[in-house]
Symmetry: C2
Subunit: 443 residues, 2 copies
């Protein structure tokens, strides 16, 4: 009897398959596969149109440019490419990164740059340096989902600040800071994606950038500016980076994943002097040194290829795909509202409030279209009536097919709700296709 009940009890606690269950660190308790993960495995079948992922259009990068860069590196500096390197990264590449950042108004020294394994790893290392359990991180609402995962993995609490079609609302930031300080929280980081935000698609105005920097300065909060998409504007560039006006209070993150290719895993951080020294030590502890091979190939590419023209080519590809998505939304889902990004990878769609984007996902996969439910981008359960649509990877034709399938899904769900509701007509919002339209629900 006791053996049986003990067995039952172990089963119900869900850990009988892991003999090391009791040995994990406290921070590991929150580490779990997302609920939509299994569904995404299904969604990777070729017949499914995925509007879910953030994979760049690497097919727009002529492969011979990569091959030529590689072959020159091996011919001229092969023994360096194959070897361990500096924990801070290759000096020449750090200089070239200054030219890349100058396009967004940033002036820095190559000494300020730390090369990381994608800018993702810079996010992880900064979090490791700064976050104690119970610390607070402020972020846009919605925000980048894997940033939430990282902050939580160091047992920090993520608090969202209301955002609208012009990005984070300064007054809401002031209020949230006051509220959290009142609760005795230690406010460690203000995480921002100011340009072509993931997932919102919105861009923080210049005036708000200045105002938010001032609020952060006044409150002693370090700004973590994540800027993977800034160079990928469709027409006019976004305002200069926040780092361009504030050196001591901003850690800036950049990457070659979107302007070159993610397969190399090369990103970087620019940090104030003392922080940068610690970042290098943390980088060395984590990986000894970033890949020499990847860094030298990118350095050679920047040296010998007209990389600005290639960025222009990427812009053209993404502009065309964004336009395909917006026009498909106008055609198939005119009763809904969405953001109309001026760069980057994502459109943020708002469903009628009676629909639940996560619950709707299995039906979508059945209809052969995938998206990311809005809840993935909130730490607090928000976003149930939102969807992130990615236009970066599928062709314009497939984007149209995907949105048409999404219409089928949404109609089906709406019918279902109508059937089980009192029979009253279902309210739908008016379409919002530009920044002058009413602000979408982004909080």
């Amino acid at each position: 009897m006791s053996a049986v009940s003990s067995h039952t009890s172990t089963q119900s606690s869900g850990n009988n398959l892991d003999p090391w269950y009791g040995n994990y660190a406290a921070r590991t308790a929150g580490l779990a596969a997302s609920e939509v993960r299994a569904l995404f495995a299904v969604a990777s079948r070729p017949e499914v149109v995925s509007l879910a992922g953030g994979m760049p259009a690497v097919s727009a990068l002529p492969q011979e440019l990569v091959t030529e860069s590689f072959n020159r590196v091996m011919a001229e500096r092969g023994s360096v490419a194959l070897q361990y390197g500096s924990g801070q990264g290759v000096p020449r590449l750090r200089e070239q990164i200054l030219d890349v950042m100058a396009m967004e108004g940033i002036r820095a020294s190559a000494d300020d740059v730390v090369i990381t394994t994608g800018s993702q790893h810079a996010l992880e290392l900064v979090s490791k340096l700064f976050l104690d359990p119970g610390d607070a991180v402020l972020a846009e609402g919605p925000t980048y989902l894997t940033a939430i995962v990282i902050f939580k993995s160091f047992q920090a609490d993520v608090f969202h600040v209301r955002s609208d079609e012009h990005g984070m609302i300064p007054e809401s930031l002031r209020e949230e800071i006051a509220r959290l300080k009142g609760l005795g929280k230690r406010l460690k980081l203000l995480y921002m994606i100011p340009s072509f935000q993931n997932p919102g698609g919105v861009t923080l105005t210049w005036e708000r950038r200045l105002e938010i920097l001032e609020i952060a300065r006044d409150n002693g909060i370090l700004v973590l500016e994540d800027n993977p998409y800034g160079l990928l504007h469709f027409d006019t560039p976004p305002p200069p980076a926040m780092r361009s006006v504030e050196e001591d209070g901003v850690i800036y993150l950049g990457t070659f994943s979107k302007t070159f290719a993610p397969g190399f895993r090369v990103g970087w951080a620019v940090a104030p002097h003392a922080i940068r020294e610690k970042l290098i030590l943390a980088n060395e502890a984590a990986i000894l040194s970033p890949s020499s091979f990847s860094q030298l190939v990118i350095s050679e590419y920047l040296e010998t290829v007209d990389w600005r023209a290639q960025v222009d080519r990427f812009r053209g590809v993404y502009r065309e795909r964004k336009e395909a998505m917006i026009s498909a939304l106008q055609e198939y889902l005119p009763e809904l509202s969405w953001t109309d990004p001026q760069g980057g990878f994502y459109v943020w769609l708002t469903l009628p409030p009676y629909l639940d984007s996560k619950k709707m996902l299995p039906r979508a996969v059945k209809e052969l279209v995938a998206y990311t439910p809005g809840t993935a981008f909130f730490a607090d359960g928000g976003g149930h009536d939102n969807i992130r649509l990615s236009f970066c990877y599928p062709t314009p034709e497939m984007i149209r097919v995907g949105v048409r399938r999404l219409q089928t899904v949404i109609s089906g769900e709406t019918d279902l709700v109508s059937t089980f509701s009192s029979g009253a007509p279902v309210p739908l919002r008016s379409a919002s296709t530009s920044f002058s339209a009413p602000p979408p629900n982004l909080d």
Copy 2:
């Protein structure tokens, strides 16, 4: 007056240069550049013979093998190489890693393998998953210096277990476990480098492997088996890996940094099922996915090149260098004792107890030879009369030059000690050049 004293107080606390000093996480307090770091920057001048680093002899890898692998990858799978990949790593490479590990007796499934950014990152991720502040990690004494840095970066305490020329002493492990349990410590990991240990150069016998696994099992301690050098034996292979006899209680770490090239940053972990699932999630949070580019080049290399013959070539290179080092030590420093490794990269030298290897380092750099002081490999201040000598990177000729310079340094320091001592003859130990000689001081 008060402004001045406030200024002075800020200065004396040593943080006046870092406005974010008060914002770091508690774990960051222990993060500091090692004292020998600045000296190593000097030691990287070409006229200095470095016996300090652990850089593999990548010149022994024919570069055309890399170039051909790369060009085939780009021709056949370029769009995959440039893109994000799976957080667990490329499936084909995970299968090929099974063949590599089979050479050391390991049987596993490709599902059990997680590709990481060098095995260093696996060490970091495992530490993140398991270590709470105050947890205990057991390790050989001496042990790999960057493992100590990682464990401490998660605020764990590292305890060394006595080792001799046959590796960790099981009875000492039992005693240390009992002592730490008596102190109420949570024993989370037993970190081992069983074959051609860094820095000791010693190899754990088969009997001790079995006994230590049993001790770990009896005490519920997870073994972390780090095996970068196992395939690089000079004559006879080391005993099979600990993972070959124990699946549920061992996380095994492997790497291509020593059998191929470190510039790609590709290593791996093999972990019990439930731990492996968490490792993948932690890997994704930290870097999204390991470099597709690096993984595919290595996979192509393993597929199309006789990589076992290349490992043989590496063995020959390192055997020759090890022999050069041992014969130079016999010629120039016969009064000292050292380990005689049967594989790997390192010799562990024991100085007379009145010499301090860290204090002696500036003189060594002045004499144009560099080494790593023994203290770097202990968490507890041990190793002051030890030196790690690396024979992996310099040519046999330069190794001889380096050891001769080391003799000059040691003679000079010994003379200095004699001058300031009572004038009595300075005692020196007898040379120990094989495993049958008295055990070197490794604890």
